[in-house]
């Protein structure tokens, strides 16, 4: 008898485990829902009486982000302001390291425990939208058009995928030229380059490869690094509708842009460590007169100021290309709402609040450039933002496409082939065009 009992207990425990597994994997969603509903109904009935007198229960909205320490402090203030205005909502922020963010979100999606809202890198929005993980805000959010009417079009466009907007631009950034005035002076130059021709000329003048001193350097070969020069030279990856790369990435202007960088690399005015061999970091090299010019985003200012307080940080616009216009690349992040959210209405309120002038200014003070045109030039924002705001007027967004990560890899490899002399610029970009076309067609 005893033995049988033990077996029954064993079988019971195993079935409970297996049941839990199936439940977790979502094989029995209907059973789950009914169970929840019943208990919910019972609870509501029991609590109705109390609830009538006491405060309404708070709805918790989760918000995942990759903010810096300084931004996090500002975020805390923004949350306080929001919760004061919406006493029924509680914001629960979670900070995730940038490199872990995408895996964390994907695991969350697979396990059906997504955050309600998140601040995503702009390049990821089309990817998550294509997956069906994001709420189309232009459909769900009241007053969406009025909000984006006051934002910069560049950052806002990064939320658009297949006819809908899947996020709001929370902050933005771009890259501008940072130059070492001391080195310029010693070389008999007083002003930073205004045109690409001057840029190349100065870079050669300022370089001394034997001493490992270079006129210009980049963080690597991934597209973000050459993008400002690429766009200033009029380069394009695909047509505006993203249907083909042929004639765009391997078009005349794109080829000229990459050719210029390859030539600089060959004559020693662009640091050879752009290949990734572990050179002195861009900020360190700039501040210690190893590099005369770098092209960087707004974080350059606080980093240089804290690590090299003596160094005079000078920003200027990216040199003008042959067409006489400057340009650069748009970065930044968007606030999005996940389809899995149980409290979409409250999540929408939070997203809207992040786009309010007060929230934008509070976080904007710490280095994240606001996306609202209405706060431009506000005295609360640091002075060095002006040049970035000016650059943003002409800066272009990278291809807003779900396959961007792979396209970026294609461009990275193409640039490596050129620098290593394994392919000519034209050849490398012809091959890249073909690969990108394949990625676009596969969708």
């Amino acid at each position: 008898m005893k033995e049988k009992l033990l077996i029954w207990i064993a079988v019971l425990i195993v079935s409970v485990f297996m049941g839990t597994i199936f439940w977790l994997s979502g094989c029995a969603p209907s059973a789950e829902e009914t169970a929840f509903e019943t208990s919910a109904v019972q609870e509501t009935e029991a609590e109705t009486a109390e609830a009538k007198e006491s405060v309404v229960e708070k709805v918790a909205i989760t918000y995942w982000h990759t903010m810096s320490d300084a931004e996090e402090v500002a975020l805390k203030k923004v949350i306080e302001m929001f919760e004061e205005q919406y006493p029924n909502i509680k914001i629960e922020p979670t900070r995730v390291a940038y490199d872990d963010f995408k895996p964390a979100l994907l695991t969350g999606i697979a396990g059906e425990v997504v955050p309600d809202t998140a601040r995503l890198d702009i390049i990821w929005v089309p990817e998550f939208a294509e997956m069906g993980a994001l709420v189309a805000l232009d459909k769900e959010m009241e007053g969406f058009d009025e909000i984006i009417a006051n934002t910069y079009p560049g950052p806002t466009s990064t939320n658009f995928w297949k006819g809908h907007y899947y996020g709001l631009p929370q902050d933005t950034n771009t890259q501008v030229l940072v130059w070492n005035k001391q080195m310029f002076k010693e070389a008999g130059l007083s002003e930073p380059p205004q045109t690409i021709d001057e840029f190349v000329e100065y870079a050669t003048l300022l370089s001394n490869p034997d001493e490992e001193v270079y006129g210009y350097t980049m963080g690597g070969t991934y597209f973000w690094a050459p993008a400002p020069i690429f766009y200033a030279m009029g380069g394009e990856i695909t047509d505006p509708e993203i249907t083909t790369a042929t004639g765009y990435i391997n078009g005349e202007k794109s080829v000229a842009a990459y050719q210029l960088l390859v030539d600089m690399y060959k004559d020693g005015s662009l640091s050879p460590y752009v290949l990734g061999g572990g050179g002195v970091g861009a900020f360190e090299g700039l501040a210690t007169s190893k590099y005369a010019m770098i092209i960087e985003d707004p974080w350059a200012y606080p980093i240089l100021k804290s690590d090299y307080p003596e160094f005079e940080v000078n920003f200027t616009l990216v040199p003008k290309g042959p067409d006489g216009t400057t340009s650069s690349v748009v970065g930044g992040q968007n606030v999005v709402i996940f389809e899995g959210s149980q409290h979409k209405d409250e999540a929408i309120e939070w997203a809207k609040f992040l786009l309010s002038e007060e929230a934008q200014l509070t976080i904007g003070e710490t280095g994240a450039i606001p996306t609202l045109t209405t706060v431009q030039g506000n005295e609360r924002l640091p002075e060095y933002y002006d040049v970035f705001m000016e650059q943003l007027k002409t800066a272009k967004a990278r291809l807003p496409h779900p396959k961007w990560s792979e396209i970026d890899n294609v461009l990275n490899n193409a640039f490596q082939y050129m620098l290593r002399g394994e392919k000519t610029v034209q050849q490398a970009l012809d091959d890249a065009a073909e690969e990108i076309n394949k990625l676009i067609v596969e969708g």
């Binding site: 077996i7 297996m18 995408k102 990734g276």
Partner: protein, 307 residues
Amino acid sequence: MKVGNEILNKSFFKKILKSKGAYFLLLPGMGLFLTFILFPLIYSLRMSFYKWNIVNPGSSEFVGFSNYVKVINDPIFIRAAFNTIVYALMTVPGQILFALMVAILLEQKIRGRTFFRVAFYITVITSWVIVTLVFEYLFSGQAGLVNFVLKDVLHLVNEKIMWLANPILVMIPLNLLGIWKGVGWSAIIFLAALQNIPPELYEAAIIDGAGIWQKITKITLPLIRPTLVFLVVVLTIGAFNVYISGLLMTDGGNPLDLSHFILTLMYKKTFTYLDFGYGSATSYLLAAFIFMISVIQIKLLRRRVEY
């Protein structure tokens, strides 16, 4: 003997009844195993046959073996597999050789023996991330110590070597790191085996006039053979699973996707490019390969030695 036969004669079900207590106690562990190991294993096996849709798994498209075909025909995967096999061929013998030397030295009665035993084990408990970054600094092109020694101290090379930007040269720091980090662990295992060898054998050998080399080859090695087999198998499995060092030092396959290991490629395909089918198929191919290698190793190396 009689008891043993009795158990053997009973059916499997009756055996369960007989040893009820043990099976009952196994349940919690079994539960965890089923939930966190077996279930994900089966789930990812299923994924490897689909063009997987992570948001809505129900709408995933069944593609048969095409993920596997795609993986095997991918030149990047072939290169990654090659890199991984070379890594195993370098680091497994490397670790065993150095570990055996270290273990024999640590077995001697020398002053500060405990200190050295701890010192050699420290590499094992350090974090992979930190030691990888240290090796990256050592081999960094512009300001690395290795280049400084080669060029400015020994004058062996005229130009600084770009270790990390060259898909073949970057394997040198990666393999060295793999050996360096693993020696301590294998040495401790060897040490335990060495201590089990009866000292009388060595004493007898000395009387017979055996030298140190003969003692090692005729007594030590044959007697620690089971440990050796264990280490070869475990270290090989470990080598095929190399991941963190590669991910950090090559930034996920840079340059030109030529410096991937199997697992860094799997990670990039899965979590950067969201190709879950490719990722799952890769991991199943890897698992099958490791299983095959381990079986061959055990068959080849296991042979009883008795003295």
